[in-house]
């Protein structure tokens, strides 16, 4: 029972990370049909901003040396700026491009960012100890839980609630929902397209910043491709959840994270190394049953 509960917390914490990354991708897909594979590189770049630019083997803290409230504010702002810059430099000029072209461009942008990181910081992974107190394991009624997992779950829950209120209650949120539903129609009604898109990039960048912090504290390593896996799983999560649906992205992220953790815990030793194969088998099975994902949006339904 204890083992199961511990696995459950593992699952929830990994799922939270995927959910946050999936939201960052899902937001932009919803508004401008962009599947942003550079999202992982937003995450990596935000993480590298913690240290001083240098190709030395040893990392020297830069933003990472600030007190925690300042550090968080700085990294989140950095994520927002990276996302906004990507919008202004690249995606804003491609407003009328097809989703396929947008996706290819996002791959290209991702490689540009990766190579930028390699040039400025070096290609080798670097160790980085940040907030090591968070990695301590605390005892909750016999349950031994890493504090960081609880923080991850708590932060995710808080962000989800915040985003939900933002989308439901603010004038920006309702315009973003309309733009995600039918972009042209929203524009015709007077919704400011540039503003809504920039806002989605900003939120997406903020989420990338959060993921970068949580991830770096957890792994303690910086590498140019550190977030590639996260973004692949997050993308799968948006597909599983139902493309374009934000609740779907969250559900998909939690589900993929849970599948991964449960398989890690319960697969026999010999095949545990092939865990991801089983995760993907699970995804394929789910998509065979529900080809449009868990939440199927009305806007994509064929009209009869």
């Amino acid at each position: 029972m204890i083992h199961f509960l511990q696995t459950l917390i593992d699952a929830l914490s990994l799922g939270s990370l995927y959910a946050l990354a999936a939201l960052g991708i899902g937001l932009l897909f919803g508004i401008m049909r962009l599947i942003n594979f550079a999202h992982g590189d937003f995450v990596a770049l935000s993480a590298y901003a913690l240290i001083l630019p240098s190709t030395d083997v040893v990392s020297t803290l830069f933003i990472g040396s600030l007190s925690w409230p300042l550090l968080i504010a700085a990294i989140l702002t950095f994520g927002v700026v990276v996302a906004l810059l990507s919008n202004f430099a690249v995606f804003r000029r491609m407003r009328t491009a097809s989703p396929q072209n947008l996706m290819v461009v996002s791959f290209a942008l991702g490689y540009v960012i990766q190579n930028l990181i390699m040039t400025v910081y070096g290609a080798r992974p670097k160790a980085l100890g940040l907030w090591s107190s968070l990695t301590q394991v605390i005892d909750v009624g016999g349950l031994r839980v890493p504090l960081l997992q609880l923080v991850t779950i708590g932060v995710t829950a808080g962000l989800l609630l915040g985003l939900l209120l933002f989308m439901r209650k603010t004038p920006f949120g309702i315009q973003m929902r309309a733009a995600a539903d039918d972009f042209r129609m929203a524009r015709f009604l007077g919704v400011r397209a540039d503003f809504v898109i920039a806002l989605s990039f900003a939120i997406s960048g903020l989420l990338a910043g959060v993921v970068s912090l949580l991830f770096v504290v957890q792994t303690g390593v910086l590498a140019p491709t550190m977030a590639s896996d996260i973004v692949i799983f997050a993308f799968i999560a948006t597909v599983v959840g139902g493309m374009g649906s934000l609740p779907g992205a969250v559900l998909g992220g939690l589900l993929v994270g849970a599948a991964s953790s449960l398989l890690q815990a319960y697969l026999p030793d010999g095949i545990r190394a092939f865990r991801d194969v089983f995760v993907f088998l699970f995804v394929i099975a789910l998509l065979l049953v529900r080809p449009s994902g868990i939440i199927r949006l009305k806007q994509f339904e064929e009209r009869v």
Binding site: K169, T170, P171, I174, Q175, R177, A178, A180, D181, D182, M185, A186, R187, F188, L189, G190, V191, S245, L297, K298, Q299, E301, R303
Partner: protein, 244 residues
Amino acid sequence: MNAAVPPSLAAEAVSVTFDGLRAISGVSLTLEKGEILGLIGPNGAGKTTLVNCLSGFQLPTEGRVRLGGQDTVRWDAAAFRKAGVARTFQGGRLFRDMSVLDNVEVTGVALGLSRRAAQRKASELLDWMGIAQFAHQLAGTLPYTDERRVGIARALLMKPDFLLLDEPAAGMSDHECEQLTALIRIIRLEQGCGILLIEHNMAVVLGLCDRVHVLDGGRTLAQGRAAEVRNDRAVIDAYLGAEG
């Protein structure tokens, strides 16, 4: 704008060419506030293209559109909407994953209202139209006829001077057509807007319209009082006759 001149929405010798193909040529039409003008013609006659020009969705290749005497060159659809020209679409074009109330409310927000003010106006409008019971239903789950009514509600928010309805009765039963006819009458009566009605159902057109404008092959075939147009030989040949 001169307040003494009653505002009107006018197409002046408007032509639209798509890739060398003329969709409409030299069409002039004036919609006065408070009147209901029918726009009829066979499929492909250019009715929707003309409405697109009158609402900023299509730039005329030649000619111009005037609103209350103002030239509207370079206005986009949002500018027309802000200036009081609202329209509906064939097929509704609602935000299908948003509630009915949100659909109407977001129009107000886009037009510059606060959330609170937009929501109040949207609720009042849904009440007035008798569709408040759908307020919290997803727009994508509504049957066609109700979807049409929500589309009209969305257009009516902020009391536009002109309302352009693109085939609002398509696919409706006789009973539903009667309800729609009654609704359009009330809209004219209580909101006082000028209504341009594209419609195939001649019972709806003749029952509602003061004047009728007939398009055929992108040109004006006839225009005048509904009763006159109904007896016009050319119109009967081109359009009414073809309907049987």
